[in-house]
């Protein structure tokens, strides 16, 4: 019996020890290491795959895509796994569009990673996947969406481009990068031993939020015509560059904006980096005589003159230590204000600016938007160069009213004439019409508040006078558009010679800015050409381009031709 008791006790002790060990182990597993072990188990079963957000589209005002993303594939290879480089290269060469030699060389390299081709279509990728295993062994296909710009160079400078890491690097792609990009998601699912998803297993996937689409105010067709017109102009060797802007008079919307030489965003990485800007908003030039409209508007608004006021204008005028002459020196002539503008008299304009006074004139220049950015949704916009009037020398004070010694962008100049066309109210230009979220919510870009620059009466007188420019005796009969009354102004500004730092030998900037129909303005068109080696005037070079663009804009816009004939103008008084 004693022996049995001891045996029982020993047994009990053994059982208790066993129990303590088991329970202790349980506590360690469940309590101490529990969380870590559970995580390890889950990680073993859970697989994460990134879901890339689709970048939003950029469309023109009619919804035609100017930029969109499609699925594509990057083909990589692990050369150490490729069985027969030559055979694989032969199979891939047509699918990837890469020469056999190059592929063979890459596939024969030392190392374990080599990029064979990027932006391969999904069609080609499917064909690669169907190759026999012995041929495709070692190839790795990685999804890599590609950005397409179907219109190419048309609107290319406006739309911009996306870098290889998916960030917008220019144009709208840059300004609206955040909206376009969207948010990447993640697929996180439970899988079995062979990697297949377990039905009704854990699935805490985060869907990707695709990017918003950006609709521009550009009209692709008009943009194409503008681009074609400018390209034709740039084909002339004398023209180094040319820019044009078409603006809607009543809304300030930019309907077309282009310059040459432009670039195709599809091939931005093989384009000269110097061309990858948008000169229409970032390059400044001295506008020349197109500025006289501002000078005369200031004079009329200040009550110093009306369109019929007669001034005795000499052929030249002393301004500090320089003498400014008209295009051709002449004996004193009795010009009406209309005549001063139509004949583009420098002397007459300077006389009027002096009547207005420098500081008041500067106030008008700034009210017309010069010297500050327009706020258009494009990166790298320049404010132009407008010196404080207190710092103007006598020569500068005589130069600014005729558009020298002051620098503007093409867009700023269009905006000045938009104010005159819109009864004196300037609406800052905008190029984005709306942003559409992936759920279909449309956020319209609010139209900026208009700024009254001059009275309606002043604007009307300016329109009358600007019509005389394209009329008989004016400087730009080539700016006429058949069936429509056109108001506009030529400009021929001396171009500073970058080599000498002076105007000598710098050639000219030739400009034409105008709007039509003069009796009910709908579109403003600004054209300027940089011609370092030519002395042709704006009326000869820029006006015909203006007429081509304006003709198409009016016809495609369904604008009714002017019902009334152009008035007869009195330019000089005998």
């Amino acid at each position: 019996m004693v022996q049995r008791d001891r045996r029982n006790r020993l047994g009990l002790a053994f059982l208790i020890t066993l129990l303590v060990v088991v329970v202790g182990r349980l506590v360690v597993l469940q309590g101490v290491d529990g969380a870590a072990l559970q995580l390890a188990a889950e990680n073993d079963r859970l697989r994460s795959y990134p879901i890339e957000a689709v970048r939003g589209q950029v469309t023109d005002r009619n919804g035609n895509p100017l930029a969109y993303s499609v699925n594509a594939v990057t083909v990589n290879a692990d050369p150490s796994v490729v069985a027969d480089p030559t055979r694989t290269a032969l199979a891939l060469t047509t699918l990837l569009g890469v020469p056999v030699d190059e592929l063979t060389e890459k596939l024969s390299r030392e190392g374990r990673f080599v990029v064979l081709a990027e932006k391969v279509s999904t069609e080609a990728a499917d064909e690669i996947r169907e190759l026999p295993l012995s041929t495709r062994g070692g190839l790795v296909l990685v999804d890599d969406p590609v950005r397409l710009y179907p219109a190419g160079a048309v609107g290319g400078q406006v739309v911009g481009f996306v870098g290889s890491d998916g960030d917008g690097l220019a144009g709208i792609e840059q300004t609206f990068d955040e909206e376009l990009a969207g948010t990447d998601g993640q697929e996180r699912i439970e899988v079995d031993g062979s990697g297949n998803p377990i039905p009704s297993g854990i699935d805490d996937s985060q869907p990707a939020t695709d990017g918003s689409s950006v609709q521009l105010t550009l009209d692709e067709d008009l943009q194409y015509v503008v681009q074609q017109t400018l390209d034709a102009a740039c084909a002339d060797e004398a023209t180094e560059s040319a820019s044009a802007v078409v603006q809607d008079v009543h809304t300030g919307e930019v309907v077309a904006l282009a310059s040459c030489p432009g670039y195709d965003p599809n091939t931005y990485n093989t384009t000269d980096p110097a061309l990858l800007g948008n000169p229409v908003v970032s390059d400044v030039y001295e506008p020349g005589s197109v500025m006289k409209a501002v000078t005369l508007a200031a004079a009329i608004e200040e009550g110093k003159a009306t369109k019929d006021t007669v001034l005795n204008v000499d052929g030249h005028i002393q301004a500090g230590d320089v003498v400014v002459t008209d295009a051709h020196d002449h004996e004193p002539i009795d010009f009406t204000l209309t005549g001063i503008l139509a004949k583009s008299s420098n002397v007459g304009s300077i006389m009027l600016a002096r009547e207005v006074g420098d500081s008041t004139f500067e106030r008008y220049l700034r009210a017309f938007g010069l010297g500050s950015t327009t706020g258009v949704e494009l990166p790298g916009e320049s404010a132009g160069i407008l010196q404080d009037s207190a710092e103007w020398s006598a020569a500068r004070a005589a130069n600014v009213p005729i558009g020298q010694g002051v620098s503007v962008t093409t867009l700023q100049m269009a905006s000045v004439y938009q104010a005159l066309a819109n009864d004196g109210v300037r609406i800052p230009p905008r190029i984005v019409s709306s942003v559409t979220a992936p759920d279909g919510t449309v956020t319209d870009t609010p139209q900026p508040a208009g700024v009254r620059v001059v009275s309606e009466s002043t604007a009307d007188q300016l329109t009358y006078m600007l019509e005389a420019v394209v009329g008989p005796g004016g400087t730009a009969p080539l700016g006429e558009v058949d069936g429509f009354r056109v108001a506009g102004k030529t400009g021929t500004a001396q171009r500073a010679n970058p080599e000498t730092g002076s105007y000598a030998g710098g050639g000219y900037f030739t400009t034409f800015v105008g709007y039509a129909p003069a009796d009910d303005p709908q579109y403003v068109v600004a054209v300027d050409l940089e011609r370092p080696t030519s002395d042709a005037e704006g009326g000869q070079v820029a006006a015909p381009l203006f007429a081509d663009v304006m003709r198409y804009a009016l016809m495609s816009g369904g604008v009714v031709p002017s019902g009334s004939p152009r008035p007869d103008f009195t330019l000089t008084v005998p």
């Binding site: 069609e123 179907p150 048309v154 039905p199 194409y224 069936g483 016809m555 009714v560």
Partner: protein, 221 residues
């Protein structure tokens, strides 16, 4: 709710088995212990065997247990000699009772086995159904992705062919030319119309060359 309800059989089960098992290691109590998984059965089984009060269950079973022990492969000789008359009674009694218990227990066991089989089959069926659904879902997802890819490709073609530049090229290839300046007929308030502007005919395109092949327009139309 379930806790107290379960507590009653749980406490009763050890009581009955504790009384039954130490005294006899017979097959019958063992089977009740086994079916005791269904918790309520031991109580019924014991009352079925012994119609008297529960306290008498032990003594009643003594002879039966000794008889089974005697028929068992390893038996103690001393115990065998002590109870000679018991075997004659015990087999007879148990023979009379066992078939009855068996017949009474049979539907229950069948029910249990049936439940087990049905559950297993049901689970198998559900699992299969889920697996089939999942397989189909995967297949359809793949098919969907392929279709979407196809749509994207076709859309890409449409977009590429729909750009202004491509339309202009296609139009030129079809022999169309840019129009000249158009004239407009403007209706006046009195109902007459005035021609504004002057219509200029478009320049005549160059006749299609031989290389244009079958796509060249047929002359005379």
């Amino acid at each position: 709710m379930s806790q107290p309800a379960r507590a009653v059989p749980r406490t009763s089960t050890p009581r009955t088995t504790a009384r039954a098992t130490p005294t006899h290691d017979s097959a019958a109590p063992r089977s009740t212990a086994r079916s005791g998984a269904a918790r309520a059965t031991p109580a019924r089984a014991t009352t079925a065997r012994a119609t008297g009060p529960r306290t008498t269950t032990g003594p009643v079973h003594v002879p039966r247990s000794s008889s089974t022990r005697r028929t068992g492969p390893i038996t103690a000789g001393a115990q065998l000699r002590l109870v000679p008359p018991a075997p004659a009674r015990a087999p007879g009694r148990s023979r009379a009772r066992r078939p009855a218990a068996r017949t009474r227990r049979a539907p229950f066991v069948v029910l249990l086995v049936g439940l087990l089989v049905a559950t297993t089959l049901g689970l198998l069926l559900l699992n299969t159904a889920i697996a089939v659904d999942s397989l189909q879902a995967t297949q359809q997802r793949v098919a969907n992705a392929e279709q979407a890819e196809q749509v994207a490709r076709l859309e890409q073609q449409v977009v590429a062919a729909d750009t202004a530049a491509e339309l202009a090229r296609a139009a030129a290839a079809a022999g169309l030319v840019q129009p000249g300046a158009a004239a407009h007929l403007v209706l006046q308030p009195d109902g007459t119309s005035v021609v504004v502007g002057s219509a200029v005919p478009a320049p005549v395109p160059e006749p299609p060359t031989e290389t244009d092949g079958p796509s060249s327009p047929t002359p005379g139309n």
